[in-house]
Symmetry: C2
Subunit: 423 residues, 2 copies
């Protein structure tokens, strides 16, 4: 069967073919109202305009109204049957053989906006943001640096997906500049600490899962039902101030070292679009407790990359990894998060934690790649980094490679601005 194609042109290496249709929130040069769209090739299809034009009708009644909102939260709340129908209707409407939009010049003018003319916003209001620590490769590498090879993994790591609550107010959309934070740091001579600009600023290449319907307080989501609550994925950069982190984090975990910014990519790729790229998840040994045990353990074959571009040019790729290496699945994260009754709400964000692979170049943050600053990482001839410099842009990207098409995530970019002047 030939691959379905749209009447909107899509290059073969585009992240956004008809098979993807990721959702995002945008405004445009001539319309400052935030509205929901899908990406297609290098165009944005305005779903509010299509809904107003009466082109978004299905048997289910709720989803097209959600496309008149300024965020995806209401749509996320509906659940998979509505998501599936919306996707099917959109794929049909945008297909090259379907004339209703294709042949309506006036509506096309209104509803199809070149990507270069839009400003992207956060796809959802993030009520709560949780960050996991689910990559065995990353946890092992960090553990070896700080506790030695024998004690690399903490005793609980293989028993539960370790996580902490992050800060939702400072989740920002790709493109937002990242101010190097100031924070309390302990110098090499020991106490007293001082307040200074972070000198070991790092990125962390992660993915983030946006939550769908969620659960009531006190009502856990079983691991077999967890998928019903997973709307889609974005790229996530968990910016980290390593010197601040080292001083503050015992005993209650990271706080100021992380809460100054978390970047996410604007286009939410749905699990429907990722379906062709399902693969097995790593085998777990020891066997996990029944509430985390899955009949089939699935992951996704998503190629991940992080690049650093120095101000004025120069730089290159620092990380090549893959989502499939993640030891704990998203389903297990949802089950563990809710096992004690904690409620998830539509638009909540679950970060995977730094997504490293065991291969050369697979370390997904500079702490790990440079062995805590001991081994500078070469980005390009004459350009190397131990940690991030002012002016550096960190660019995360990801895609699944299909047969003749890609389902991609676009980019998650943030450029480091110098710290504010000290007091």
């Amino acid at each position: 069967m030939a691959l379905a194609q749209s009447f909107i042109a899509v290059e073969p290496d585009s992240h956004f073919p008809l098979q993807n249709l990721p959702y995002g929130v945008f405004s445009s040069r001539d319309n400052a109202v935030r509205r929901i769209g899908v990406a297609l090739g290098n165009q944005v299809v305005d779903l509010c305009a299509l809904s107003n034009a009466g082109l978004l009708r299905g048997q289910r009644c709720q989803w097209h109204d959600c496309f008149r909102q300024a965020s995806l939260n209401s749509f996320m709340a509906l659940g998979r049957p509505e998501w599936r129908e919306a996707r099917a209707v959109l794929m049909r409407l945008l297909d090259k053989n379907e004339g209703r939009l294709r042949d309506d010049t006036i509506l096309r003018q209104r509803a199809i906006v070149p990507m270069e003319e839009v400003t992207m916003h956060l796809p959802a209001e993030v009520g709560d943001y949780t960050d996991f620590y689910a990559s065995r490769e990353h946890a092992t590498a960090c553990g070896e640096m700080f506790r030695g090879h024998e004690n690399a993994l903490n005793p609980n790591w293989l028993s539960l997906p370790v996580a902490y609550h992050g800060r939702s107010s400072s989740v920002v959309v790709s493109g937002t500049p990242i101010r190097r934070p100031r924070g309390q740091v302990l110098g090499p001579g020991g106490p007293p600490a001082s307040l200074q600009a972070c000198s070991v600023l790092d990125y962390e290449l992660e993915m983030g899962c946006l939550i769908g319907p969620g659960n009531e307080l006190g009502e856990p989501v079983g691991v077999a039902e967890a998928r019903d609550h997973m709307f889609g994925l974005v790229l996530l950069n968990d910016w980290s101030a390593r010197d601040v982190q080292r001083w503050e984090m015992v005993p209650l975990g990271p706080f100021a070292s992380k809460n100054f910014a978390t970047s996410i990519s604007p286009w939410v790729v749905t699990f429907e679009a990722l379906e062709p790229f399902r693969c097995d998840a790593p085998k777990q040994d020891p066997e996990v407790l029944p509430y985390l045990r899955e009949a089939g353990r699935h992951s996704y074959d998503i190629q991940l990359e992080a690049a650093i571009e120095a101000q004025g040019g120069g730089g290159g790729t620092v990380t090549r990894s893959n989502f499939r290496h993640l030891y704990w699945t998203l389903e297990q994260m949802v089950a563990h998060h809710t096992a004690g009754g904690c409620n998830l709400r539509p638009g909540d964000l679950l970060g995977t934690g730094t997504l490293s692979s065991a291969a050369t170049g697979g370390a997904a943050c500079l702490l790990e790649a440079s062995r805590n600053g001991a081994n500078p990482v070469a980005l390009a001839p004459g350009v190397e980094r131990t940690f991030l410099c002012d002016g550096d842009a960190v660019c995360l990207s990801a895609h699944c490679q299909g047969n003749g098409f890609r389902v991609g995530f676009g980019e998650c970019v943030g450029r480091v601005m110098p710290a504010r002047a000290g007091q």
Copy 2:
């Protein structure tokens, strides 16, 4: 000068005299719409009704519109000059010598609702909830239990107000039943862990500060300006599953042990109402870094109490403490929270951490009071506890004692329900 009094009767030991006027969100038997009110004696004054009747007018233009909302977030966002004017207008309108409301029988019927007829809701939508660990007495007592007398305080504790991000979705209003959580626990024999009902469930007596205008991402709030961003205080119970906490918290801090529920009291007592009860805060030694240094260090003389009432009766007070003992002030918490650029938003919640005092009976959680279960605490003849039993209601209360009046917080109550059946 005689104490101003309202035409609404207020008993001398009431928590809600004319001098208090705490804000809350309520609905009533005959009107399910959530609206803003102030507590006065045993009545609730409906500010939406007063605003609609045109009685809430001042020179500033915004605050009376905010009283038509279903949460206090918009009012919190306005800042102290608007809060002050609103308070002055309300105090005048409710004064016994002012006839506009007093003599309007029809409006009184509509706008003054007996407290026993109302249901209280969360006063604000809590965007982010942060919990500090700011009581030296509590941090020392916990440290002694787990690390011995010599290492009681972690090295960073006297240098910064230690905090972690909590879960905002599970912040619930007083009266909400608390389901005993299930969670991963390590048995005395060591690994493997098992999923089971928490067997050492605890309360933590804290106070919570609700944030006012807040700051833009990247723009710290100086310690001298921090007060401008503090709207008011509530009681807060940071329910804690100690066995889950012990197993999960290294290295990223508490997660499932805390995120199943956090209770707060419904009435937000403003800092204007607390003004007469300002007192010195504890001296800090060693001197703190300049960004945390205050010209005058102020606290508030707020008497705190926690009681446990067993199902079917029996029980009594377990904690008597005072807010004034808090080592880190709220201003320092705001300054530290934002020093790296993290943004606070209106309605964000900052918990103080367990508010213990050094006096006998001053331990503000059962972990501390029972020395981790070693010494049962007597509640009443024949009733003792090491940790909470199913059916126990924990009742936190607080008030400031003035000359002939009290400024109180009412209560923050939660009853423990049995855990869900195991899988």
